[in-house]
Structures are given as structure tokens and as C-alpha cells.
């Protein structure tokens, strides 16, 4: 068997069999699944206990029966009861809370109080304020003595939701969902940062192990140092791809299992399935409607669904894998060079800084990219090879012109050749040096050695 292949196989097999790899591979999907599931559970587990709320109006009965009962909340309009009578013992009387509406409500919006022992759910507050607002508007309109007011009100009742449609130069349009794009950008950028760092430093630790255990001295009588370095980098890349693939499969499986066992079956279920399995972060929006299905929510789902389907999935997945491999290759060679230049892990600090700064800068810019994907900062950072893996992955869900992607990828490939060549030169010399602390000047000397 080819010797480089042998090295790749060893690097791969020993890592994949490690307990830490198996634990990480199995546990991380639970974390991912939690990120997807928790918003759903929060939504579906919202305080569903039946509540009775006492409504007290002082000095008028303008709002009697204005707030309609909902599935889990009844409103009881108490006549002739003063707030002070009930304030201290509503709980004993079986009420969840007391809603106090003062006569000034028409003029002062905050002349209304909900007194309760527990924090009331936001849905309930929205329901109350929404009903009251409508009623107050109606009352105010009534004061103008308009004819057929009820009729007019019914016809003007409308709701607005912004549809975002992007148009490319050829004029064809595509509906997108900014929410999904943002979720994808965030997930992609962050995952890229994590993976590059994690597997890059895995390579570095491997190199240090071989150096300090003098394994290298034995092995270089069989293979060239460059073969050893490349074998390690490629082996670890395969470990990364394996782990990544397992994460996706396990996470999807987990999300399905948890959803089907915790959430009520419904007609929406199938509809939610697709967008969620693509990008779970839109849960917050999608999950809101598991209990009641209104026409409004249905359209919302349909739009989300369409938005998710309209994402350029092929490009997103392709570019993620491309940037993972190239970004990893770039940083892993730098990390390998660092590992070969030091005698132990604590000594890596001095060389780590210049390598970590671009990664962290990339992450920061990527996070900003979600707010403003077209800014010139995002543009430049997605072109410059050291930061482009993270920033470009975060930009792609927002539609990036093809030439920008091509330029970024092209530069990346050229840089990799440079980085691997440079790393190989440093590695070849560094891996056999012991004892003295390496300086940047020394590194430069190794780089410029001939032969």
C-alpha cells in the first residue's frame, strides 16, 4: 500500500476509534437537536392551564365583554366590585389575576393593570391589549358619527406582512425569507469557525505528539516529512467529514423522533417538517401555530416553506464543503507548521496569535454580515483567503454574485498551495529540532533554506 495512504489510514482510524470522538459525535447532535427543539417546546408548553381573570372597570362599563374568552382563559366582568376589595384575595377566589381598567384608558394608554401572582404569558397580554386597542379605536371613530361604521370597519380590517423578493440582473425574481437566510448565515459561519479551529488544532497536537515522542525520527527513515504532514492533515480532514456527516444524520433523526413524540400531530406537521429539517432556527415563527390554525398563520407557513425551498441549497452545501475543506487545509497547514516549531503545547502560544486573529476576525465580520450582507467590509473579508471561509459561507444565503464567489474560491486555492508549501518547509526543519526556543527569525531561516 502507498505509504501516504498508510499514514492517512492510521491518522483516521486511531482518531475515529477514540472514546472522545465517539462521545463528541453522539452528544453534539443532542445539543443541536436541543437548539431546534427548545423553541418548539417552549411554544407548545406555554402555560396551558385554564385561567380565570377578573375584569374590573371603574366608573363605566364601556369595555364590558370587549375582551373575548380564549381557549384557556375566561374573562369575568365583575360589576360594582372595587379593586381594593379583590386585590388581596383574588387568588383565593379562584382568579388567575385581576385586570383593572381605569376610566382614563381612552386618553392614557397605560391606565390598565394586570395584577397576578405569576408572570403572565405574552400571548395573553397581546390578546388583552389587542382587544382593547381595537375597542378604543372603534369608540374614537364612533365619536365622529360616521354612517355604516361597522361596515366600513370590516372592509378596512387588513393585515400587512412584507414579502421580500429579490431580483437579479436578468430580471427573474425569487421569494426569499430573510429569517431563514439569517439562520443559515449564522449556523454556517459559526460551524465553519468551530470546525476549522477544532480540526486545525487536532493536527497541531498530533504533530507535537510525534515530535516530543521522537516518533518522527523513526518514521522519517521510511517516509518523507512532507508525506507525514500531508497524511496527517488529510487523515484529520476525513475525520472531520465523517463527524460532520454523522452529526447531520443523527441530528435530523433526533429532531424527527423528539418532534413526533412530544408535539401533537397536526396537518401542519408535514408542512413544518421540510423547512425545519433544512434550517431549524425558524422554529420560533413556525412553532407558534401548533394549537390553533388560522388562515393568517397558514399563509405564514406557506411563505416560510417557500422561502426555505427557494434557498440556493445546492450552492450553499457545495460552498460549505468547499470552504470547509480549503479553510481547514489552510489553517491545518499553519497549525502543523506551528506544531513542528515548538517542543510542547505551552510553547505554541507565541505563534498561535497571528493565526487565530484572522479566524476570530472572520467570525466577527460573519456575524455582522447577517445584518448587512452587502457591506464593503463583508465583501472584502469574504474575498481575502484567511477570513473568506467563514465570511463567505455567511454571505451565500443572501445571494452573492457569481464572480465574487469565483474570485474568493480562486484566491483560496492559490493561497492553499502557498500555505502548504510554506508549512512543509517549516515542518521539515522544525520537526527535527529540539531544545532551543524557536523565534520568528528562525522560522524565516527555515523557510528560505534551499532544497
Amino acid at each position: 500500500m502507498n505509504k501516504t495512504l498508510l499514514i492517512i489510514r492510521r491518522e483516521y482510524v486511531t482518531r475515529v476509534r477514540k472514546k472522545s470522538f465517539i462521545i463528541m459525535t453522539l452528544l453534539t447532535p443532542f445539543l443541536f437537536a436541543l437548539i431546534f427543539i427548545i423553541p418548539m417546546l417552549v411554544m407548545s408548553n406555554e402555560d396551558k392551564n385554564f385561567k380565570k381573570i377578573a375584569v374590573i372597570e371603574e366608573g363605566s362599563d364601556l369595555f364590558t365583554n370587549v375582551i373575548p374568552d380564549t381557549k384557556d382563559t375566561d374573562f369575568e366582568y365583575l360589576q360594582g366590585v372595587r379593586l381594593n376589595d379583590i386585590k388581596n384575595n383574588f387568588s383565593e377566589m379562584g382568579y388567575y389575576g385581576v385586570l383593572y381598567i381605569s376610566p382614563q384608558i381612552v386618553t392614557t394608554p397605560d391606565a390598565i393593570q394586570l395584577i397576578s401572582r405569576k408572570q403572565p404569558p405574552i400571548g395573553l397580554l397581546d390578546h388583552i391589549s389587542g382587544s382593547l386597542e381595537k375597542e378604543i379605536e372603534k369608540q374614537k371613530l364612533l365619536a365622529y358619527n360616521i354612517e355604516n361604521l361597522d361596515e366600513i370597519l370590516r372592509t378596512i380590517n387588513s393585515s400587512v406582512r412584507i414579502q421580500t423578493i429579490k431580483m437579479d440582473e436578468s430580471g427573474s425574481t425569487r421569494e426569499t425569507s430573510t429569517g431563514i437566510s439569517m439562520a443559515l448565515a449564522y449556523l454556517g459561519g459559526f460551524l465553519m469557525y468551530m470546525l476549522v479551529f477544532m480540526f486545525g488544532s487536532m493536527v497541531m497536537r498530533g504533530v507535537i505528539e510525534e515530535k516530543t515522542n521522537r516518533i518522527v525520527e523513526v518514521i522519517i527513515s521510511s517516509v518523507k516529512p512532507v508525506q507525514l504532514m500531508l497524511g496527517k492533515i488529510i487523515g484529520v480532514a476525513l475525520v472531520g467529514l465523517t463527524q460532520f456527516a454523522l452529526w447531520i444524520v443523527l441530528t435530523l433523526a433526533l429532531v424527527m423522533v423528539i418532534k413526533s413524540s412530544f408535539l401533537p400531530e397536526g396537518t401542519l406537521e408535514q408542512m413544518q417538517q421540510l423547512p425545519q429539517s433544512f434550517a431549524g432556527a425558524d422554529q420560533a415563527m413556525a412553532g407558534a401555530g401548533t394549537s390553533t390554525i388560522s388562515a393568517e398563520q397558514l399563509t405564514e407557513f406557506q411563505e416560510l416553506f417557500a422561502g426555505a425551498l427557494n434557498q440556493p441549497w445546492g450552492l450553499i452545501i457545495f460552498s460549505f464543503i468547499f470552504y470547509f475543506l480549503t479553510g481547514y487545509l489552510l489553517y491545518a497547514s499553519l497549525f502543523a507548521a506551528i506544531g513542528s516549531a515548538v517542543d510542547n503545547e505551552t510553547e505554541t502560544q507565541q505563534f498561535m496569535l497571528p493565526v487565530t486573529i484572522p479566524i476570530i476576525l472572520g467570525l466577527i465580520v460573519a456575524m455582522g454580515t447577517m445584518q448587512n450582507p452587502e457591506s464593503s467590509l463583508s465583501f472584502w473579508f469574504s474575498i481575502i483567503p484567511l477570513t473568506s471561509p467563514i465570511v463567505m459561507v455567511a454571505r451565500i444565503p443572501f445571494d452573492v454574485p457569481a464572480w465574487e464567489i469565483a474570485l474568493s474560491m480562486g484566491l483560496m486555492l492559490i493561497t492553499i498551495f502557498g500555505a502548504v508549501w510554506m508549512a512543509a518547509k517549516i515542518y521539515r526543519t522544525g520537526i527535527l529540532m529540539y531544545g532551543k526556543k524557536t523565534s520568528y527569525k528562525e522560522l524565516w531561516k527555515w523557510l528560505t533554506y534551499k532544497g
Binding site: 500500500m1 498508510l6 499514514i7 515522542n213 521522537r214 525520527e217 527513515s221 521510511s222
Partner: protein, 308 residues
């Protein structure tokens, strides 16, 4: 014919000279000892032979021609510090290193089984290196070094960490390897093993060769006209113009007497005196041990150096 030769090899590090124009010549199918105090430059020389570092000046030859980079494939190297992956299993690791050396899986397995059985470590196959003691790790390393049957073997301190039983076992294996055609260079502090194993030695001190040649010849050269006589019964001969008695030990019915001939001492006269003194069991010239020679040479050199 010399299998390996180093000519005037010099290596300097930033603050010190590790080797100063050192030459050695290792005959084929012999065992060559590299001796010297700690820090003398032995390991640097070994690293140069392995082409881990390049000499600043001088040249190294294999089979009479300058050494090429791919010549390292014909060298088996046992480093002083362990060169094994701590977390890998013994068998897997040995197999991996053997395959890297170019052996096929089947061939590597066959040879590994043979060596594991020979060194009585078959039961360790599935143990991790880090679970083994230092000596046990050394045995595994020894096997991985010799497995591909290289022409030239280099052992850097092969006996550290071994108990006497294992030292004996490894010594036997080294002699066996020489018999099968290998040429062996090894560095050690263990002078006993030098007398037993080495055909030739080089003694390096402070980057310079201070003694070299065949072990036999060196010991004879350094012999100081001393003799060892064994008598039946308790006998102490009296010194005369030809010799003086250095010491005499009576034990288990026999006397071991060590004498030193005077400068004008005549061996025949000495023998006469001995036979007159009692019943002689044996009469031998007393050769100095390598240990004595080592200490004498190094100390003399260091004293001279201090004077200058």
C-alpha cells in the same frame, strides 16, 4: 571492508561544537561501539548517520560511496528516547511501522509473530504502549527496529530500562543479528556490554575522538604488565626485583593474587617465583576492563584540557 564510514565530520551548534572532525570506520558484519561521557556528541553523530541532521563539514559513506537520502531505508534506528505512539496498541503500531518500512501486511505479520514469540511478548499485542513499563516499551521498539532486516542497525543506549535478564536476552539477539549479516553501531555507557559485544569502539570526549580501534587491541595496549595468578590453598607470594604484589584474596580454598611486573621484570623469573610459592592453578595476563580504560582515558584528557 567498511560498510559505513564517517570522515572528518564536524557539527557546530549555536554555542558549542558537538563533533570536531570525527572519523569512524565500521567494518561490515561487526558490532561497533560509540562510547563517551554524557554530552560527548554520540547522539549527534548517530543523528548525522540517520540524516536527521546534516554535518557542517565532512562526509559520510555507505558501502564506499557517499550516503544518499534514500539510504536511510536500509538503516534501523532505535532512538534513546522512545519513538512510539503512546496511545496505540502494541501490535497495531508494530504492524504500521513495518508497513511503512515497505513490508506487506502478510510478511509483516509473519515476522512480527516470530519476534513477539522470540522475545516472549505475544501477550502484549492488544495492550496500549502507555500501559507498558519502560523496559517493555524498549522491547517493542527493538522489534520494530530490526523487523525489516536492515543492513545497518543503530542502537542508541539499547539497554536502558532493562532488567539483567532482558539485557542478556537483547545482547543475545544483537549477536544473533550480526551472525545473520547485520552491521551494528551502538552507543552505550554500559562498559560490561562493550567487552562482551563490541568488535571495535570509538571513544568520543568533548566532540573529539580520543580512542579508537578493536576492543582486543585496546585492552592489550592498555595492559600495564599485570598478571592474575590462582593458587590452591592460602598462598601469598613475596615480591622481588621482578614484581610486586598488588593484592591477594583467599576464598573457597583458592587464592587470587594480582601482581605487577617491574620495568625490568622478566616473565620467566616471575613464573619461577610463583611455582615456588605454591601450587599454581592458572597464570594470566590481567587485561584492564573497558571501564578502567574509559575512566583513565577520559580523566587524563580532562586533566590535560584543564591545564591548557
Amino acid at each position: 571492508m567498511a560498510l559505513f564510514e564517517a570522515q572528518n565530520v564536524t557539527k557546530r551548534f549555536a554555542t558549542q561544537t558537538a563533533l570536531d572532525s570525527v572519523s569512524i570506520s565500521v567494518p561490515e558484519q561487526s558490532i561497533y561501539g560509540l562510547l563517551g561521557p554524557n554530552g560527548a556528541g554520540k547522539t549527534t553523530l548517530i543523528r548525522i548517520i540517520n540524516q536527521i541532521t546534516a554535518p557542517d563539514s565532512g562526509a559520510i559513506f555507505l558501502n564506499g560511496r557517499p550516503m544518499r537520502p534514500d539510504d536511510v531505508h536500509n538503516i534501523g534506528y532505535l532512538p534513546e528516547e522512545r519513538g512510539l505512539y503512546k496511545k496505540m496498541k502494541v501490535g497495531e503500531q508494530a504492524l504500521y511501522l513495518a508497513q511503512l518500512k515497505g513490508l506487506s501486511h502478510a510478511e509483516a505479520m509473519r515476522r512480527l509473530k516470530y519476534w513477539f514469540k522470540k522475545l516472549e511478548i505475544t501477550g502484549w499485542w492488544d495492550k496500549k504502549i502507555q500501559e507498558l513499563s519502560k523496559g517493555m516499551q524498549q522491547k517493542v521498539q527493538f522489534i520494530t527496529t530490526v523487523l525489516h532486516e536492515p543492513k545497518l542497525l543503530i542502537f542508541d543506549e539499547p539497554f536502558t530500562g532493562f532488567d539483567p535478564i532482558n539485557v542478556k536476552q537483547i545482547k543475545e539477539e544483537i549477536l544473533f543479528l550480526r551472525e545473520r549479516g547485520a552491521t551494528i553501531i551502538f552507543s552505550t555507557h554500559n562498559m560490561g556490554s562493550v567487552e562482551e559485544l563490541c568488535d571495535h569502539i570509538t571513544l568520543i570526549n568533548k566532540a573529539n575522538t580520543i580512542l579508537e580501534g578493536s576492543v582486543e587491541k585496546i585492552r592489550r595496549d592498555w595492559a600495564e604488565n599485570e598478571f592474575k595468578i590462582i593458587f590452591d590453598g592460602e598462598v601469598t607470594p613475596a615480591g622481588n626485583g621482578h614484581f610486586s604484589v598488588l593484592n591477594s584474596v583467599f576464598e573457597a580454598g583458592k587464592s587470587a593474587v594480582r601482581i605487577k611486573a617491574t620495568e625490568s621484570g622478566d616473565t620467566n623469573e616471575i613464573i619461577k617465583a610463583m611455582t615456588a610459592a605454591g601450587k599454581v592453578v592458572s597464570f594470566n595476563p590481567a587485561l584492564p576492563s573497558m571501564n578502567e580504560i574509559f575512566i583513565r582515558v577520559v580523566e587524563t584528557r580532562n586533566r590535560e584540557a584543564a591545564k591548557n
